[in-house]
């Protein structure tokens, strides 16, 4: 009996991991190449006023090809540290090094933002995460944060493009819907969206987008959506259905979009493997 319970517990806990094939392997463009120029990653911390009291880690990738004379494109990543990790599922700095060197995407400054935390006044206690509030809320607050705080900071330091087609925004899970929301609310700021296993579900009302897209005049946004058929199905919604519904709405409204569905779960494996291809598509002329 105990053995049965143990096995049942094991299977229940690892169910999601067991049912998904998720056997994706990173390609050559996700591997470091010692023979090409390597960009630099500078880390810092940001204290926000738009999200009062929050602090967050931030990192800026500057490609070796950036000369300060020609305005560089800019791409902002939510949950930035996972995207910036050179040994992680996405390895954005490595992919950027490779694609920029091959001229398969423009010279692009990468901005990696973690969600905010409100530190506890008592140092013995944990801070409160502001992630869901910042990412899942379908409002213009996050776009305003980028517009008023982050973009000016980048523009102060670097010569970057200010046209929406020269700015992309990307995220995974709640960061995916956050990226879409920022462009949806402010297409004058962001013209390109890359969403990995995006949470277009009812976490905080984000399931409204398919309906909004269908009944709103088309906005000048290019959208790449990725999900997996074994993604989450929980109280907030069914991720694959939600992403399919987004794709159907984008198709209906004649957006420039791609939807790629693998067989993975709620992680960045598939999205990481197809990241080079996603970036080529997103940044194509």
């Amino acid at each position: 009996m105990k053995q049965f319970v143990t096995i049942a517990c094991f299977l229940a806990f690892f169910y999601n991991f067991l049912i998904a094939a998720d056997d994706y392997v990173l390609g050559i463009d996700s591997q470091p190449n010692p023979n090409i120029p390597k960009g630099k990653l500078e880390k810092s911390e940001w204290k926000s006023n738009i999200f009062p009291g929050t602090t967050r880690d931030m990192a800026i990738y500057v490609p070796a090809q950036y000369d300060g004379k020609t305005p560089a494109a800019i791409m902002i990543f939510q949950d930035g540290s996972s995207y910036a990790n050179e040994k992680g599922q996405f390895r954005v700095p490595v992919v950027f090094d490779n694609l920029i060197h091959k001229k398969e995407m423009p010279v692009t400054i990468g901005v990696f933002l973690n969600p905010g935390t409100i530190p506890a006044s008592n140092p013995k206690e944990k801070g409160r995460s502001n992630r869901s509030f910042e990412y899942d809320t379908p409002s213009d607050q996050y776009a305003t944060f980028l517009e008023k705080e982050i973009l000016p900071e980048i523009e102060k330091k670097y010569n970057v493009r200010k046209d929406p087609a020269g700015r992309a925004i990307c995220g995974i899970s709640s960061g995916g819907i956050c990226a879409f929301t920022a462009a949806w609310e402010r297409p004058d700021l962001f013209g390109k969206v890359l969403s990995h296993v995006g949470s277009f579900t009812n976490i905080r009302g984000g399931d409204v987008y398919p309906g909004l897209i269908r009944k709103t005049e088309k906005k000048p946004i290019r959208v790449f959506l990725q999900d997996g058929s074994n993604d989450l199905d929980n109280l907030h919604g069914h991720w694959p259905l939600a992403n399919r519904s987004m794709a159907a709405a984008l198709k209906f409204a004649k957006y420039d979009f791609v939807y790629v569905e693998g067989d993975g779960g709620h992680n960045g494996k598939h999205g990481g493997v197809i990241l080079p291809e996603s970036l080529r598509w997103l940044w194509r002329e």
Partner: protein, 288 residues
């Protein structure tokens, strides 16, 4: 084998019981509904409830003008006499803060007579910090006060919208404040001196039905810092990051709860004050 089993069960509880993606099915008990509270034939019209860390429920009885407790063994004791109340809170010493007739009173443990500590402050919700300070919601002033039993008071927040209910996170780092319009539960960072900062509309409850005034008159937390907010739609439950887990239906439809509190032997009984009647419901998760 036993160790592995214990580990897996613990892992399951940690990853499910206290994780954020908790559906209602992991909060409510099947076939367990709201029940009218049986109060040992206490005849009363109740105007306020709260609970202490031991699981005792405190009730203000406006009919008998008294405040009494029901301890986890269901023993009823009158603790304060000669007082009705709009709001109650119990501090870590067992003393009771009472908002009554636009004044704040305090009755130390074992003292049936409450003393007035603040004159002219109309609070509809009070919550206490371990250090002895209290927050009071004064919606008529659209303000939150910080006060002490010495009578010292300070306005620590002024809102565009009034707040009508308050709850403090278990680690006392965050104050949750329910708005009078029912659209938001605001959060504040609690500074070391009790002052409030970093206000935001952290939680957005489901909107009330058309034509029904929205409000969040009562709020409490469970052990995992999930927020139970009494609203006109029912008791809306949010995870600690402010995401809606689900809605418990009204105890006495279409009437809704004015105040809620966890109490009972294992602190898994959710008490709801509806009008002047008290309802109870067992929940899977206890309060801290």
């Amino acid at each position: 084998m036993n160790r592995l089993l214990s580990f897996l069960v613990l892992l399951f509880i940690c990853t499910n019981g206290f994780s954020q993606d908790i559906p209602l099915s992991q909060i409510i008990i099947p076939k367990e509904d709201w029940k009218k509270a049986s109060l040992n034939n206490i005849d009363g019209s109740f105007s306020a409830i709260t609970s202490d860390s031991e699981g005792s429920l405190f009730l203000a009885n406006s009919k008998t003008k008294s405040i009494f407790t029901i301890d986890p063994m269901n023993k009823v004791t009158e603790v304060v006499t000669g007082m009705s109340a709009q709001a109650l809170a119990v501090d870590s010493m067992g003393g009771i803060y009472i908002a009554s007739d636009s004044n704040i009173f305090y009755a130390s443990k074992g003292n049936a007579k409450a003393s007035k500590i603040i004159d002219g402050m109309e609070c509809v919700a009070i919550c206490t910090l371990k250090q002895g300070k209290c927050y009071g919601a004064a919606p008529s002033e659209k303000a939150i006060y910080l006060f002490e039993k010495t009578g010292a008071k300070k306005k620590v927040s002024t809102e565009n919208v009034g707040v009508i209910s308050l709850a403090v996170s278990n680690d006392e780092t965050t104050l949750f404040a329910g708005s009078t319009d029912g659209k938001s539960v605001f959060t504040f960072r609690i500074e070391q001196n009790g002052e409030l900062s970093a206000k935001d509309r952290y939680v957005a409850p489901r909107k009330p039905r058309e034509g029904i005034a929205g409000s969040i008159p009562g709020m409490t937390l469970d052990k995992a810092n999930r927020i139970y907010a009494a609203t006109s739609l029912g008791v809306q439950v949010f995870d600690p990051t402010g995401r809606l887990c689900g809605v418990l239906l009204q105890p006495d439809f279409p009437k809704f709860a004015d105040a809620i509190a966890f109490a009972g032997p294992d602190k898994t009984t959710l008490y709801a004050l509806v009008g002047q009647k008290l309802y109870t419901r067992k929940i899977l998760f206890p309060a801290k």
